[in-house]
């Protein structure tokens, strides 16, 4: 199990159609968190065909990379809703009372929360905390 990493990227709000056709530079993973909003972790540049799109740097999330065995042991039993079976897939909702985003890919699960709840994740799921020495930006490039 890995210590958490800060997940940097871009957050974009645009028309749904524009987001369907958005392009992000880099090795990114795109969370479509709403019909009109995405978070593209790992992205530094975005092209969005919407002149009114809002494109902002996003640094508010941290993630824990888990194997499926770790996920089943520590997280799954706190999730009340059906988990997706397709891969890759994004799911979001409450787990143990915390708003989480779960990215399921072929290798494992990325548990993502806003950094303000990182301490609660550590406590409620018994996951590793940030090391005291981690103060510099760590950019995680995640494969889609």
């Amino acid at each position: 199990m890995h210590a958490p990493e800060r997940l940097d990227g871009l957050r974009v709000v645009a028309t749904p159609d524009a987001l369907d056709h958005a392009w992000f530079e880099g090795d990114v993973i795109v969370f479509r968190i709403a019909h009109d909003e995405v978070i593209a972790f790992g992205a530094v540049v975005a092209e969005v065909p919407d002149e009114h799109a809002i494109v902002e740097r996003e640094t508010a999330f941290v993630g824990w990379g888990l194997s499926y065995a770790e996920f089943d042991e520590l997280i799954a039993r706190h999730v009340e809703w059906p988990l997706p079976v397709e891969r890759p897939a994004l799911a979001q909702g409450l787990a143990a009372g915390l708003p989480v985003k779960l990215w399921f890919d072929h290798d494992g699960v990325l548990l993502v929360v806003s950094s303000g709840f990182a301490h609660e994740v550590v406590d409620r799921f018994r996951l590793p905390a940030f090391a005291e020495t981690v103060t510099k930006q760590v950019t995680r490039q995640v494969r889609a």
């Binding site: 902002e56 508010a60 059906p82 143990a96 806003s114």
Partner: protein, 722 residues
Amino acid sequence: MRFALDDQPVDFVDGDSVAVAVVRSGQHPQHGGALCLTGDCGNCSADVDGVPFTRTCLTPARPGLRVRRHPAVGGPPLQLDPPKNPVQSPVHAGVEVHRRHVDVAVIGAGDSGTAEAARLRAAGREVLVLDSGDGDDVVGVYPGPLVVVRTPEHMLHVHAHEVVIATGAAEVHPVCEGNMLRGIVLAGAADLLRSKGVDLGTTVTVDIAELSRFEGTDGRVTGVVFSDGRSEACDTAIVTSRTKAPRDLLARMVSDPNVRVVGPAAQRFDLPPAPVDGFVCPCSKITVGDLQMVWDKGFQHLELVKRAALCGTGTCQGGVCMPHLRSFVSDKQGVEAAPFTGRPASRQLTIAEAAADVFLDPFRRSALHDEHLKLGAQMDRFGGWWRPWNYGDAMREYWAVREGVSLGDVSTLGKMIVTGPDVVEALERLYPTTIADIRPGRSRYVLLLNERGHLIDDGMVCRESDDRFVLTFTSGGAAFAEAWVRDWIDTWGLDVRIMDRTISHGAINVTGPLAGALLQRVGVAEPPKFLQHRHATVAGIDCHIMRLSFTGEASFELHHPVAHSVELWQALMKAGRDMNITPHGLQALFALRLEKGHVIVGMDTELDSTPRRLNMDWAVKMDKPDFIGRTALARTADLPDRRRLFGFTMDGPAPTEGAPIYVGERIVGHVASTFTSPILGKAVMLGWQKHEPWADTVTIDGRPATVAHTPFYDPEGARARA
């Protein structure tokens, strides 16, 4: 093999339940009452290994078990260990919750449940069968449907597309004189005991319809008196009945189209004869006389009789009393009374079982949380966040703001970016303030009203360009405000993009007379003027600087990507070291803003506070064509309104917040916020008067207080603009 009953050994054989072993030893798991040994009644419940109200008929006997009978009168003593930390979420309760998502859950593995499960499986459905005989004790069915199950190892939440309740029907218990004696068993229990080799001695079998009463000595049955007057002596009375009682408690808990009942649980059975004597509800020791008493007092409906007499509220939740209670009420009313509503849990749960996987609402930490702790902050919870209350000396923090420079962590403020072709139109409708005339680079204080014209939040509108704005909201109101803004813009069908930045941007308030000088040290050559804002690099970090003032002194909010909060905070603290820079917490902030008369929504305001009641009509432009709340404000503008928030001052120390405000002997309102202002040399307050005529002089805390204009401090606002 033996276990302990009230610290005395009881022998048992393989396959015995605790109850069977106790009966075999010639005793009763309680102090009397008919036994069904099927889990339907509570007459065998006892404390098993420290867990009271455990049905011993469903508890396999094991060596070393410690069984204690409940007291004959009253309940078992509570066993409460106080939590080590009462504010900590019970995150590590001893009982886990496991979850399953299934197509169909069938509750009950009797004839009807088994048949239904087979039929469903044949139709290609995925079926999970839950039966207490297998250790799956269903304790509740909720809309969803959700089935909550207690297993020997953990709690199980079953999320099913469909739930089938096939719990069968129970034997009817006897209700008559002597029905709480020991040695009375239902027919099914007698069969079970005999199959286990228990010697029942001389037995008499009696049908409920022919039963008059039981006779006994020393608490044990010695004979049965039949309704035709004859009596028979016995060691054990076996009770049969031609009718049954549907086990429909789970079905009565939930109204969900995806929950259905099959088999005897759904069947209508004849009621037994109306009871005339004895204990109707053995769990709560409710007699027929008790029912008659509450009936005579006017509680003449089954649900009312239940509530008034507590009949059906005990261990078995109506398993024993329901048919008799219905018969009692039906006999009085002349029509058949329906069963009472069922509610979870159907079985007694431990606190750990009930609290399994229940969590307190989480509170966020700002990115500066550890910095605050290093500086000795006392953290507390406000508006969904952990925030510094003070850093050990609130007055030092206060003076740092008034005379020097201070930092405040305002990362918790709600923040939102809005853009789009219709953004001005949307904001004009959302806010009672004029938006269109805010020039790029300028900002304006705004109220957020609901349709009734009541204040629900406040904040700033910062215009960045013709079609891009940054909005701020209060910390506690941010989540609601976001939903409010999104819902209305969606309702109006306006073309607006909305991005919430509350968690994404940290914000540090640099405030005090030396705030501008500090910013110059960290690279902001020309800090923005009052109510202006702009983007700039501060200590190497991209910031959106907003000049405003909540403290009454020059204030610059530095909004920045949250990942750089610590870096920015440390740079500012370092740059201001020779200025004796001191961070301030909420305790000082509340005092500073009170001297300026600034209200805090939710602290000084009430749920129905209008701008007029808050003396904030200046923030409402009724000449705008429309905004949320305008119709209500226009309608009520000429109506009398007795409520008004006033500023007060008084000599001496500030009274307690919430203190009543008197005019003579009459309480006319209360104090919302108080502070003993060192710079003004008196106590300042905001408080409500709710009776006219409003008084200029009132009594608070036994001392005279005077209505005063706000701001109390720097009424011209020169310091904030400096």
